[in-house]
Every structure is written in C-alpha cells, then in structure tokens.
C-alpha cells in the first residue's frame, strides 16, 4: 500500500507485505521450540520472506524456475514458499515421507533448480538421486545437525548462509525483490502441487497466481467455508503436509489473506497434545484424524474410573441424540437441544472438548477423502461444528462445502457462489468450471487434455449425485447438496453386473474405533470381500482389558477373539446395506499399511492396485470355497 514500487497484481506475497506494514507486531505464526511456542510477528515474517527472496535472486532464480521444498510443517516452509513467489518462481512441495525414488521423480520431473531440505534425512534422499536431476544446483538445509562439517557436496548450503547471501544481495540491490514482485502477472504459475497418484506416478498440477487469488477471494475472504470469515483473532494448527492443497489453503492462504495465526504442530504424532495447547478456532482434518480422535475418546472413556465412565458414556449417548437432532436441522439447534447441550456442557462436553483441544473450535472441517457420517455426527453432538468439504488440487480446492447452518450429512455440501458444478449426463461424473481451474499438468499436455475439456470444464473423476432438501420454511429456496458416490475408477462391478461404491462401505467399517483400514474387493467377483486392518491402540486396549496377551500387530489380529470382535462390526455394517453390497468374508492385513512400502500414497490414501498385488493370496483365499 505504501511501498516505493507498487505491484499491479495482488499475490499472497503482497498480502503479507501489506499486513506487515499495517500490523507489524501482530502474531503471524508460532512454532514450538524447546518447549516454548515462539512467536513470529508479521514484520519478522516479511523480513524473512524478503531475505529468502533475495537469496533466491542471488542464486540466479529466474521467473518460472522451480524451487523445491522438502520439509515438515515449519516456519521455513512458509518463508520459502512466499520467497519463491516473490521472485516469480514456482514452489514445488515434497512430502516429508517421500522415499528417495519418489524424490528423484519429483525433482527430475519438476526440474527444480534449488531444493530446500529440512535435515539430514531429506538431504540424504536428495544427494542419493542428485545425479539424476541435472537441473538441481543448490541444496539448502535447515537443520545443520549431521550435515554441517560432514558432507562436502559443493551443492550444499546451510540455512544461515543462505539468509546471509540474501542479506548481502539485498544490500547490493535493495530494490531487486520489489522490482521482481512488481512484474508479477496473474497467469504466472505459482506452485506445482503433485497429486498423490493412487494410480501411476504423481502429476504436477500448475496453479497460477490468478487461481490462488480466486481461491483466496472465494474461500478465505468471501467466507466460503467459515462464517463469519476468518480474521486475525483466529488460530489454526498446521499439521498435515503443506504440499497438499488443503493444508496449503488452511495454513498459507488463510494466514496471508486473513491473518489467521498459524501454529505449527511438532509432528503428526503430537497433534493431540498440541491441539490441547493451542486450542485452535479453525480446524481442518482428514478423515483419518477425526477417526483417530474418536477412537482415542473410546479408549480413554473405557479406561476411566467407573463413575466417570458411566457419566461420560451417558453424556455421549445424549450427544448422539443431540447429533441426530442437529443432522435433522442441518446443523442448527432447536431450543430443546440447546438446553440439553447447556447441561451437558457443564457436566461433560466442555471438559471433553478441552481435552480434545477443540474447546474453542468455531469451525471444523473434514475433506480430502470420504468420511463416515457417524464420525461427523459424533463431533456435531459434542458441540464441534463439523462440515464436510469437497475440492481437489486441480480446481484449487474450490468446489463445494457444507455451510454453517446448512449442513446435510453424507453430502459434501453446496457449490460455492459463482462456481459452476454439474454432473455429466452419461456417467454422473462431477464437472466444475470457474477461474480456479488449474492451468494444466506440468509437462503433461495429454493428461491435461484428459481432465480439462475445451469448454473449460474440469473432469474431477468423482461420481456424484444431487441431494435435494425441501425448504424448511415456505418461501425459501430448496437446498441442493452434492453427494459423492465414489472415485470413478474405484467403482466395483461385481460378476453379477451390479455397480457398488466401495468407499461408502469402507467408511462405515472405518467408523468403528477398532478398524483402521478397510479395502473392499469384488471387481468381477461373485461377492464382496474386505481386507481389514485393525487399529492397534484400541484393539490392544480391548485385549488388555480382557486379559488377552499378544505380542505384535500380526499376532493381535490373528486372535480368534479379535476376529469375533471385527465380525460383529462387519455384521452390523452389513445390516445397513443391500444384499449385493454386503461383505461376505474378510481377511486381516498382516501389517500396518505404510507409505514407504508403497501401500499408501503420501496423503495416506490406499493404493488399491498395490494392495491387490501385495496381498493377492489373501484375496484369492477369500474366494476359494
């Protein structure tokens, strides 16, 4: 607003710059360091961004050059992302769990010039494959432990040296960064987001400055999700991989555009503890997280003293009723439920939410994968306003969302205002069209042509249907929510010729605290079967209470008692489905699924193809008579 060189294009970088000028002492983010949540003010944030930007200029990063970031969620991730955008580079995020071959693929495919790696682990992965990536000129490492003084690769550079380089460049060319920023244009590619790729190698979706500005306008400032829109008073916890579009939106864009204070979790394993400390007001989670919280409540209630157990169980049953009422009323309380909730708040829900770290959550959302409605209902019942969202990388996460007070459970919500969503007449595939549709896949025009047609419609690959809700009061418009059946390519056609959406069955199974993974099999088979992975924490606790000794995950899942327990869950789920959709047999996965072993994608989605190959004998065993 009051800088020497005015930029014509608004980007997230100019938004941070303007915020730093307006509220230099406001808190932009916090990260836990030696037990203390260190605060970073907007002025400090902006200073770091300009240093990184100048350092990238000094390293010769030209407009359109790629800068890869391979870190857990931390302050430096944001510094690098915004620094790259400031010099009109393209940020490429790598998942911290990516094994070396995938790192090689991503670095090679994107042609990254500079890589910012977090620590020795990531540096090792990069150096192991550096020779396959000729474009890679520099590897900046943030944590010096184990790297500094031990590694002699000339491409390595320590973070402080990197910043010093930036400071030096800024002294020599004080206006260089501002000039480069001023040249930014709306169609500049801003970031490559590699999709997780449940089939085939990951594809890099190009999001431009205009795409992201549209997302900011729709989702953040326009209050596409939250109501009222996010502000500086809101806190969020950043713990999902930042290379995923959802976390990028909730962390980087919410922060830059609305000033939401970002708090970085120490790691994915400490999320529950960090939630308690931070007590965020806006919380986004993937189904796995919500399922895990639900399971942890189950475990902890089960091991509480009898009086507490009885009381909590009672109030959780009440919460279930409140949840039912809320679902009927699209997330709105009736006077009766409000009264019951007030009593329960004093007795249980306030403390329960405090323990879960959701006491102050005013908006919670689930997305990125399908979730069982029961899980959402649990959170609604205890007073966490839960909303399911839908969007994908290719449309900058802009498609539909359940709005506060207009929730229809089991759907992913209504299209955002100004966003065109329709279903393909023939296949039922969901198509979206709006300025947030991506510019194409990086170096893959054929794949781009497959999903973006000439009319500008994005083919999402998801099959859906509309759910009409009659108006609650006369004179109101009826509500039209989108319900997603499944991924198109996941639809199972049984030998009897019946189409079955496996994810609905899988999520119903996964809603049980005892089941972590469920993969329904049955394509071109006479009946449906399932591979089931147990949740070791809850089943272990269950076994312990029964005095059932066990050693390993595999040993536990092979216990006949555990089979009986899971059979009970499967039977209960079967009762809710038509005959052809019932699970006739199931087998236990002998190990926990893992990204490193190629069974899961970086976003913890099951790779069906890999599972079918790896556990072929298990599957075949279920179809042998």
């Amino acid at each position: 607003m009051s800088t020497a060189i005015r930029t014509t294009t608004t980007t997230i970088v100019t938004r941070v710059r303007d915020r730093a000028a307006a509220t230099p002492d406001g808190v932009a983010m916090r990260e836990k360091e030696l037990g203390i949540w260190r605060e970073v003010t907007w002025a400090e944030y902006w200073e770091q961004v300009t240093l990184v930007a100048a350092a990238l200029l000094a390293l010769g990063v030209e407009p359109g050059d790629r800068v890869a970031v391979h870190m857990e969620n931390r302050r430096e991730w944001l510094y690098c992302d915004l620094g790259t955008v400031a010099v009109r580079g393209i940020t490429v995020g790598l998942y911290p769990t990516n094994p070396a071959p995938e790192v090689a693929y991503l670095l090679g495919h994107s042609g990254a010039k500079v890589l910012v790696a977090e620590d020795q682990e990531q540096v090792d992965k990069a150096l192991a494959v550096a020779d396959e990536c000729p474009a890679l000129e520099r590897v900046v490492y943030v944590e010096p432990r184990g790297v500094r003084g031990r590694y002699s690769d000339p491409r390595l550079m320590a973070w402080p040296d990197f910043l010093a380089l930036g400071a030096e460049h800024a002294r020599a060319h004080p206006e260089a960064v501002a000039e480069r920023m001023a040249a930014a244009r709306p169609d500049d590619p801003m970031t490559l987001i590699y999709t997780s790729g449940t089939t085939g190698p990951p594809k890099g979706a190009i999001l431009t400055v205009a795409n992201i500005e549209y997302a900011v306008e729709r989702l953040v400032l326009g209050g596409g999700f939250t109501s009222p829109p996010p502000s500086e008073r809101d806190l969020s916890l950043s713990y999902l991989p930042l290379c995923h579009v959802a976390e990028r939106a909730f962390t980087v864009w919410y922060n830059a555009a609305a000033g939401v204070q970002v708090n970085f979790a120490e790691s994915i394993d400490t999320v529950q503890a960090n939630l308690r400390e931070v007590q965020p007001t806006i919380l986004f989670g993937v189904p796995r997280i919500w399922e895990k919280v639900l399971a942890s409540v189950e475990i902890r209630v089960g091991s509480a003293t009898p009086a507490k157990r009885a009381l909590t169980r009672f109030w959780l049953r009440v919460a279930d009723r409140i949840g039912d009422a809320l679902v009927r009323n699209h997330g709105n309380h009736t006077p009766l439920t409000r009264l019951v909730y007030a009593v329960g708040w004093v007795m249980c829900y306030r403390a329960l939410r405090e323990r879960l770290g959701m006491r102050r959550v005013r908006y919670a959302a689930s997305g990125a994968a399908p979730i069982a409605p029961d899980v959402l209902k649990f959170f609604m019942g205890i007073g966490v306003p839960m909303h399911e969202l839908y969007g994908m990388t290719e449309n900058t996460a802009i498609a539909t969302g359940n709005r506060p007070g207009r929730v229809v459970l089991g759907t992913v919500g209504e299209p955002h205002p100004g966003v065109e969503v329709r279903l393909d007449e023939a296949t039922g595939e969901i198509l979206t069209r709006h300025p947030g549709n991506f510019a194409g896949y990086w170096r893959d025009p054929r794949a781009t042509a497959d999903v973006l047609d000439e009319d500008g419609w994005l083919h999402t690959g998801d099959v859906g249907e509309w759910v009409e809700t009659p108006p609650r009061r006369p004179g109101e418009e009826p509500m039209r929510h989108l319900k997603i059946t499944d991924r198109m390519k996941d639809i199972i056609i049984t030998a009897g010729g019946k189409n079955v959406a496996p994810s609905e069955i899988e999520n119903a199974l996964k809603a049980s605290p005892y089941i972590k993974e469920a993969v329904v099999v049955g394509d071109r088979r006479p009946y449906l079967t399932a591979l089931i992975g147990i949740e070791q924490d809850t089943v272990g606790e269950w076994a312990r209470r029964r005095g059932l000794p066990y050693t390993t995950y595999r040993d536990l899942s092979e216990k006949p008692e555990v089979r009986e327990l899971v059979q009970g869950v499967v039977t209960a789920v079967n009762a809710r489905f038509a005959r052809v959709e019932q699970i006739k047999r199931f087998a236990f996965l002998p190990k926990e699924l893992d990204h490193e072993d190629g069974e899961l994608t970086a976003t913890q989605k099951v790779r069906r193809g890999a599972i079918a190959n790896l556990f072929e004998d298990l599957v075949e065993g279920m179809y042998r008579t």
Partner: protein, 393 residues
Amino acid sequence: MSTGAPPETARPEAAGRPAAARRRARRPGGRPLLYTSYAQDMALLDTRAKKIWFYGIVLAALLASQVLVDDMLSLLAMAYVVAIGAIGLNIVTGYAGQVSLGHAFFLAIGAYTGAAISGDPDGRVLGLGVTSILVWLPAAGLAAALAGVIVAPLATRLRGLYLAIVTLGLVFLGEHIFKEWDQLTGGPGVGRPAAVVELFGLRLDRPGPLGSKEQQLYLLMLVLLVVFAVAARNLARSRIGRGFAAIRDRDIAAEVIGVPLTRYKLLAFAISSFYAGCAGALLYTVTGFFDPGSFNLLMSVQFIAMVLIGGVATISGSIAGALFITLLPRLTRELPALVPVISADTTQTPNVFQVETVLYGLLIVLFLVFEPRGLFGVWIRVRNYWKSWPFSY
C-alpha cells in the same frame, strides 16, 4: 526438572529475529497451556484458578483477624510461625533430601538470639535492648544460619541414617548447653521472656492501632509467613531449587551433571537454618515466655511430622502440615464432649493427652503407608480427578 533454562540463541535462526527478545511475551486468551515464553512457563501463579485461590486464601486469612476470637488468633499466629519453621525443614529435608533431626537446635539458636538482642539490658538474663524486629529477626536467622553452615560439612560426608543420627546429636548438645547457660536462658524450669516485638516504634505485643495484641501479632505472623513462603517457593523453582532436587534424587548423578555438592548442601543447611532461626525467634512472642527444655527431640519430631503429613518438597504442604499439627491438640480437647470414654483429666486413662500422642504416631504411620505425599498429595489427587474429567488420564 532440567538444570537450567536453555540459552535463547540455541538455534542459528534466532539471531535473525532480534525483535522477539525485546517484545513483552503475550498469549491468546483462554489457553493456559500455550506458553510463549519461559517466564510464563515458570510463573508461580500460572493459571487463573491458582491466582484466584491464592489471593482468596490470603484475603480470607486477613479477614479472619477481624472475625475470630483472640484465643483462636493467637493459636493461628503460633501455627503460622511454626509453618515458617516447617518450610525451613522442608527445604533441607524435602527439597534437598538431607534428613535432619536437629531442627529444634536451630530454632533454639534463633529464639535465644532474638530474645537476647531485644531483651531488657537491666533484666535478670542477658539482653541488649534493641527491640526493633527489623534488627533481631534477621540477626536470629543469621545466627542460626551460621550454625547451619558449621554443621553442613557433616552432611557432605554423611547421608541418610548417619546424617539423621548426627543431627540428633545436635539436639542433645543444644539441650545441655541451654540448660546450663543460666545467664542466657534463665535455666530449666525458670526460662526467660521472649523477644520484644516492635515495628517502627510500635509495640505489637500491646493493644495498638491494629487492634488487640493477638490481632496485631496474627497479622504480623501472616505477613511474615506469606513473605517466607513466597521466597521459598521462588527458591524451589530457581537453579538452586533444581540443584537441591537433583541432589535429593541422586547426589552422585547430580554432581556428574554439574551441581557442586558441597556448596549446595551448605546452602541447603544455611537457608533451612535461617528459616528455623526466624521461626524460633518469633515462636514465643505470642506466649511471651519460654523454657530451655522446650527445644528437645519431641520438637524436632513434630516438625518432621509436619513435613511428612503436609507433603514432602511442597511449600503449601508444609503450611498445611504445620496448621494441622498445631491445631490438633485443640481438636483433641473437644473429644471428651463427643466420646465420653476419653477423659480430660490427666490422672485418668485414657485421657486426651494420651490420645494426642497416639494420634501423632498413628497419623505419621498412616500417611507414610497410604499417602506418602501427605496432605498435599491428597489435594493433588483430588485436583487431578477433576482436571482429567471426563477421562482418568
């Protein structure tokens, strides 16, 4: 507990954020677990509940001076002084883990120093006539601390049971000296007047502007207890306090991680004796007269009982234990009215004094077996029950 706050610049990028150190730490409201600075992490009253309780209890204690009868006030004033002594013993025994049975000896030194400095120069026993509490109270504490420093080298050589026996020896030595030194103590069975309490020219042991003698002394003791307790609590969370805890947990390990054993044990005895000296000097100002025979083994054991019943290595526990032990006789006196079998007459069996003695023993045994963390442990248990609601952990 660790041995010290890690340096601010433990990470290289800290150097790039100069403004952070200068800015006052703040945190978003309603999030007691979100610490944005070490000062918040270490704060004594770190939650609103603690603040409300602390100020509430202090206010209630202040108001009690206007509500309760003088007889009760003098008993409570006595209990507050005893609590100062119990805090002192808890520093050396609870925090630093050096078992001391010689606490009565240090109390005696304080009592006689205070009494001698403020005593009547023309009286029957030794007296210097300096009646200001600002002079004799620190002097009493320092004299006792000096005695503590002399004794401390023993503690660096001995530990556990051996140290307990040696400190027990101190009590016998002291008892003998004070019985024989008639000029200072007045001799056994006779005694001498206690220290004269005068603050800024105002005699607090006579009715004055703040009310009766008991009310004034009660308020004085309350203020002193708060000062001593806060100081001790502050010490416990400091580097020295963490050093004490390290020595208690394992002295060899403490030395390995860099706690100077000799110096810290010396410090523990000196500080503990300072507290004992101050408590000793104040103890008899309420009754006005004391006998050299009071500083016997029973007194040491009573202090040990306060620490054990109240809670080892806790300040609030020490205070609770002191109040409990001091008020116990008053409670047992009420017994004959409730239980007719127990007599108030010393010539009959069972009488209240026997019950009292039995109760001391029984309480120590029961607490050690069922609640080793004392009254404070009971409180922690209750607090955790509600804090972990609706779960159990």
